[in-house]
Symmetry: C2
């Protein structure tokens, strides 16, 4: 026979009862707090996780005694109370205790309508949740004596038993069914998907019902004191007379405004004292629970009952404002405010968003590759995008896929939409760098570039110039211009990030190639530029021609002559960057890509090039072919080019030094950092450093001015990680380029991985796309080896990572533990990185203070 | 004032004097051995390394006393005696002691001609080597009283001193100048380039001259008892009457045959007793010095003197025969015979060579990419090569560079010559695999493929059909057909390799893709196939069409239908391989390359493909473009293809299993090994293994026959090395693919590295091309990590390396120390690998026996 549980299995919630979220769940704990604040909470009993587990395994509770504790004739509700409300749980069941006798008594005290309604509601809830009958097996319709009788008859017909009349039996069955529901496979999978541990427990809260139906001012509602979207102080909520529980959430007869309103009656009007008490309770909750709470309340014949309080749901921008306000009011510390905003929530604030309340008309769906939304006129080519930008018209660039030739078009566009590609495609990476909303891999639409039309999967035809919107946060393309919310870089945002900066212990720089990037980096308070790629500077029209002359030069002298013409342009680029960064460190990566990236491939492009260089087409074609490579990623680029054609790095170094001198004259002194890419052997670094030191000496001699600079290495081949102790002998800093390192560690080209990455992640071959989330096992081990050996070889070396991974919280965690000095990421990731770094540092400190608590 | 050296600084060589090669040099040691054998060696004194060093630094020796030791009026010679004769040293100086008085005495005893000749020779040698006068400062011409007087006068005019008359002074100056010459920078660099340590010492040997000029049978010569080219027993050498030292080496008056000869007089005729003694001394030397020696001798008025003996110079094939003969005669052990042949010398034996004595007419020079020589008719295309082979005519394929489309042409050719590419270019790698002589990067010649002509740098024009010869050992292309030496896979070679097999402790397999490769692997006694690449099997004409149909299939069903047609061909390939290998293990790598390698790129090829597949050209072009990749090396290939299109591996596995059953029925049971390429994560292996196990089960069910197979992983990404402990959970063996691993560790494409590898190696960035010599630091560390973690994860796992590096002695050394079970290399490298493995094992054993001796 089954054992009865001990009577201590239930525990009345009082100010002193031993209730903890870890044993009885968050709701029970919160109710105890409300009780401690002397809020009018109806009598409440909590069942612990252990008790509910025992119930699920078949043990019984003395529910007769439990019902008796609530007093003769009381109705009760049961609500779930798990450790985290996000983990879900069975729905609340109200009005337990209704039976024929209670129905008769209520008919006398509250009238037949109330009695019928309460009994019918309970029968329906019990039938569905405990007896597991389908909803259509009981008669529908409004409560009435007939419906009630029919429901009782139907219940008996379906279950072969009369509806249970003993409140103790009713409660026992309700508790048992809720305990079992928690153990069901679906519920378990759902909550584990939300982060619940495998052994997550369910507590249950049994509370005496405040009816909300009946004589006098009776009804139920919820109230909160901030706006969930904006986070601004504002009383919002709902109240409905003659209602209980979730009914208040539905508009209908009896719904009132909460506060006085010219449009109609309000709670403040009909129950001013109760309303004032509610507001006072709200303030008390905020101050004492140190959080913005939504309060669930019931008025029972004019008397206010507080049934429950939950954390206010909030948008990311509201989360920032709420946390900052709590800290500014002295309720929480700035550190706590920082910890209350998830780093991942920030990107949403940095971009305009489609208003969640606006109507949406999606015509294509793809991969959300870069967040934010933008509206503009449809264009199908980089040239059209630039023309549109020149006219001052926002445009959306739509391409099958993008290539380096589209970069200036992307700069000109407000957003990008491509048919092909994945999260790491060219379009996606560039768009994230530029902070452009971007959707890639929007399959199903047909792009006709020649006729400049786009046919959506649903058949709609869009033409160049049509207005569309790209929502890079959801991965949708929308017809027209839905209402937008502007970015939220307000004072609250700045305050929070300032507190984050005070808390964190690892630096954050930005990857910035252009003045626009650099300005953004400053705006987001990056501590300098960690990666300035110089190759983009050669793609501009006037420079590209000179660049091509340089590539086609037959001798080192001819090459130098072309480079001499590039020098002033490069110098001007750097002067501008240095000025924008105002003395902050700027780490410039020397020329990296293979030269053939600068050459045309189309027949027409080759012909134009032949004309420009005044060479026979066959000659140009042959040279272009000779420069092409089987695997450009692994070819003649980076330091290899620097050694094979040292004139390029000479020119760049000179431009950097001269620019540093020029910028220092009119502003803060500049100490440029020069970084050499794709290193795999110590001697490569030695050779380049020798030449760059010579260039520095020549500039010093020619100008008669002294200056300092730092020389370092981009560590992005597995071999450079393994030989970091040697390489660091010639390097003041090592910056780990995780993009290329990931490519080489996996033997996987980022540009080509799109074809199978989907299959790979869905089959669990890779837990995540390693270009998106740093692979801690393979790439991570190489990073750790590199950092450790680099530090060992030169203890004062500056270590950092740059690349797409730099801004991810996981990467920052990794970099801190690997002893790195800073991370560098795209400007739009800088706020996330600052927050994530602060979270990690604060958690470490709290762990150090209280190892047991935080170790759980 | 300068110190005089102690008298113990010189030591007469006797049977018991404390002479060692390490203190007095090899020549001194060898002379002592000759003395111990009672050979008639003139009185000889040895100066140690320390003494010579002291002389070089200015100290003096009591040369008067030394001259006196040789007896009144004796002439002496001085010869160098370094630890290794290959390290060079100053030339011998003869006739020290000649002066006016001795000249007068010799004029009486031997006649004026002898006296004049000896004195003049000494003056000339002294002037040039000691006084450092230019050769043309002394009068030339035959010895005579006038020439002699003119020489003495010229000496005095140039040096302001009379020619030194004191033999002690002469000797002191000769010793000092030889000691100083050894310390010169050029001499130092030269010997260090030959492997000498920085502190290598020079000993000197002072020997009483046996004159070789004068009355009776007088003269000098050298004799040896084997042929230096073939190694066969044969008395060869030279003798010249009235000659001394190197004069015997020059034909001229007095030159005789050594042994009786119908063409003229011989030493055997004129001095039969001395000749018989020489032969007896030769036998004694061989038996007691345990080596074939060349003996330098002088007859002085009929009396035989043995001046010196040196190891016979020998070709690689002679080295093998000599070592084997010594072992077969019981003079050395088989292990010693193995150690006496350098593994690197073997490739020369495996290929025909241009006879070193033949006339050569080179018209182009390039990089010797694959050893051996072959003659044939010039062809300019793969098709022409195949046509030529079909006619049974040897041909030489000449291309600017080769691509995979040329492979069948290379199979058909006798040798390959390309204008472009380096040691790791496609042509070079394939040629080494095929064992074809190959010269790449032969710049300066102009190939006109359309007109089928080749213009050499010297202007000569060659047309298709002209006979040329490629010498892959020297890197030359020769006009015509010089005389060749055939490969030397004779009994001696087989005996030696057999002894090597008995000595070694690591397995050697061959990389073999075709039946021809497999037969070669058997011929070279590989212990199985370590890497059978299956992709070549799909390039044959009939298969390529089906392959392309497979690639263009729209559905998995269509793909399977095409694969079903490939299945019997694959199965037949494997049956043949299994039969050839007769039950030895065969490790088959599943399909690896990206699919676009099987598609045409030219416009014409695309049109043909469209015809063949009955598809619109635009459709075919678009599909081909869609399959193209930015970095094919890092793209959709290997296991990624196996997971994205599992039907391919399914087909291959089925073909392998069915072939194993078929081959086992008629021969030794076959246990195939199946290897999956390009793995970077454990789950990849798991997914493929699951499917292959299912295919095995299906084949077992269908045939009702059981069979075993082994499943393993090709470890060729850095990540696979780092995660070897996980990956090995699903693998019975791990084979490290060092080619791809090198590419990824360096971030360096083998196909593209040619453009700068030359610069890199010459500037010392890389000490060696890492595709040629395994990089021990970077790639090596990953291999060690992979081997160690693989072994730890599964102690019984079989570990090996395959790839170009497999046959190199350095790699084998590395693999032994990393605990690998076997190496696999191209068939032509197998003998080298067997020898190298034996050397390593024997050296380890000798080190274990005698740690001090071998530790030097």
């Amino acid at each position: 026979m089954q054992k009865h549980l001990d009577l201590t299995a239930f525990l009345e919630i009082t100010a002193t009862a031993p209730i903890a979220a870890a044993t009885h769940g968050g709701r029970a704990k919160c109710l105890q707090r409300l009780i401690r604040l002397d809020l009018p909470v109806p009598a409440t009993v909590a069942l612990s996780f252990d008790t509910v587990r025992a119930l699920a395994s078949g043990q019984r509770l003395d529910t007769g005694r439990l019902m008796a504790a609530f007093g003769e004739g009381a109705l009760v509700s049961v609500r779930p109370s798990s450790a985290d409300p996000d983990w879900g749980g069975p729905g609340a069941i109200l009005n337990i205790g209704m039976n024929d006798a209670r129905h008769a008594a209520l008919t006398i005290s509250h009238g037949a309508a109330v009695a019928d309604a309460l009994y019918l509601r309970f029968i329906r809830a019990y039938a569905s949740n405990v007896a597991r009958l389908d909803a259509d097996m009981l008669p529908g319709g409004e409560a009435s004596a007939e419906t009630l009788a029919a429901a009782l008859a139907a219940y008996q017909a379906e279950t072969d038993e009369p509806f249970p009349q003993d409140p103790a039996v009713q409660l026992a069955e309700v508790l048992r069914s809720m305990a079992r529901a928690w153990e069901g496979t679906t519920a378990r999978l759902l909550r584990q998907a939300r982060g619940a541990p495998a052994d997550a427990g369910l507590g249950l809260v049994v509370q005496r019902m405040a009816l909300g139906l009946g004589p006098g001012v009776s009804g139920s509602g919820v109230i909160q004191f901030v706006d969930s979207i904006t986070g601004r102080p504002q009383i919002t909520g709902r109240y409905r007379a003659q209602a209980q529980g979730r009914e208040a959430m539905e508009n209908g007869e009896g719904t009132l405004f909460l506060i006085r309103d010219p449009r109609g009656p309000s709670l403040e009007d009909v129950a001013p004292e109760a309303f004032a008490a509610l507001v006072a309770h709200g303030q008390s909750c905020r101050r004492n629970l140190r959080e913005e709470m939504q309060i669930e309340f019931t008025l029972e014949d004019g008397r206010l009952w507080i049934l429950d309080a939950v954390r206010v749901q909030r948008s990311s921008r509201a989360a920032v404002r709420i946390a900052v306000a709590l800290a500014e009011d002295g309720i929480i510390t700035p550190d706590e405010a920082v910890l209350r905003v998830e780093p991942r929530a920030l990107p949403e604030l940095l971009h305009p968003q489609v208003d969640p309340a606006a109507a949406r008309d999606p015509f294509a769906r793809g991969i959300p590759a870069s967040p934010g939304a933008a509206t503009g006129r449809l264009v199908f080519s980089a040239a059209a995008a630039q023309a549109s930008a020149a006219r001052g018209e926002a445009c959306i660039l739509v391409r099958r896929e993008t290539s380096p030739e589209d970069i200036r078009g992307m700069h000109a566009a407000a957003a990008v939409l491509t048919e092909r590609g994945g999260i790491t495609s060219h379009a996606a990476v560039i768009a994230r760098g530029l902070g452009l909303p971007c959707v890639v891999g929007a399959t199903g639409m047909q792009i006709d570039s020649r006729n400049r039309t786009l046919r959506a999967a649903d058949g709609r035809l869009f033409r160049e110039g049509d207005t569309i919107t790209v929502d890079g946060t959801t991965g949708e393309a929308l017809a027209g211009a839905p209402r937008m919310l502007e970015p939220a870089l307000d004072e609250a945002f700045q305050a929070l990030l300032g507190w984050a900066d005070a808390a964190r212990d690892i630096g954050v720089r930005a990857n910035a190639d252009t003045p626009a990037d650099a300005r953004m980096a400053r705006a987001f308070a990056a501590e300098g530029i960690g990666l300035c790629r110089t190759e983009h500077m050669f793609f501009e029209d006037d420079r590209l021609t000179v660049m091509r002359e340089m590539i086609f030069a037959r001798t080192a002298d001819d090459r130098r002559a072309a480079l001499d013409r590039l020098l002033p342009m490069q110098r001007a680029d750097f002067v501008e960057l240095f000025r924008i960064m105002g003395g902050q460190p700027v780490c410039i990566r020397l020329f990296d890509p293979p030269l053939h990236e600068f050459l045309p491939t189309s027949r027409e492009g080759l012909r134009e090039l032949a004309d420009a260089l005044d060479l026979p087409l066959s000659d140009v074609t042959r040279r272009v072919e000779a420069l092409s490579e089987f695997n450009p990623m692994l070819g003649l680029r980076g330091v290899r080019l620097g050694i094979a054609m040292p004139e390029i790095y000479d020119m760049q170094a000179r431009a950097i030094f001269e620019a540093a001198l020029e910028a220092s004259r009119s502003g803060a002194p500049v100490v440029p950092e020069i970084m050499v890419p794709l290193v795999s052997a110590r001697r490569e670094v030695e050779l380049v450093k020798t030449r760059i030191d010579a260039v520095a000496a020549a500039v010093r001699t020619r100008t008669g001015q002294d200056f300092a600079y730092r020389f370092g290495v981009m560590v992005e081949t597995p071999r450079a990680c393994l030989r970091a102790h040697e390489i660091v002998q010639h390097a003041a800093f090592l910056s780990f380029g995780t993009n290329d390192l990931t490519q080489m560690t996996y033997g996987l080209s980022r540009d080509d991985a799109g074809k199978f990455m989907g299959t790979y992640v869905s089959q669990g071959v890779f837990p995540e796309d390693p270009f998106h989330i740093l692979d801690p096992d393979g790439v991570g081990e190489l990073l750790k080896i590199g950092a450790e050996r680099g530090r060992r070889g030169r203890p004062e070396v500056t270590l950092s990572i740059c690349g797409e991974h730099g801004g991810n919280p996981e990467s920052i965690d990794f970099c801190r533990s690997a002893g790195m000095d800073y991370v560098s990421c795209s400007p739009f990731r800088v706020p996330v990185a600052r927050m994530a770094a602060a979270h990690l540092a604060l958690r470490d400190r709290s762990r150090a203070r209280d190892p047991v608590e935080s170790g759980r």
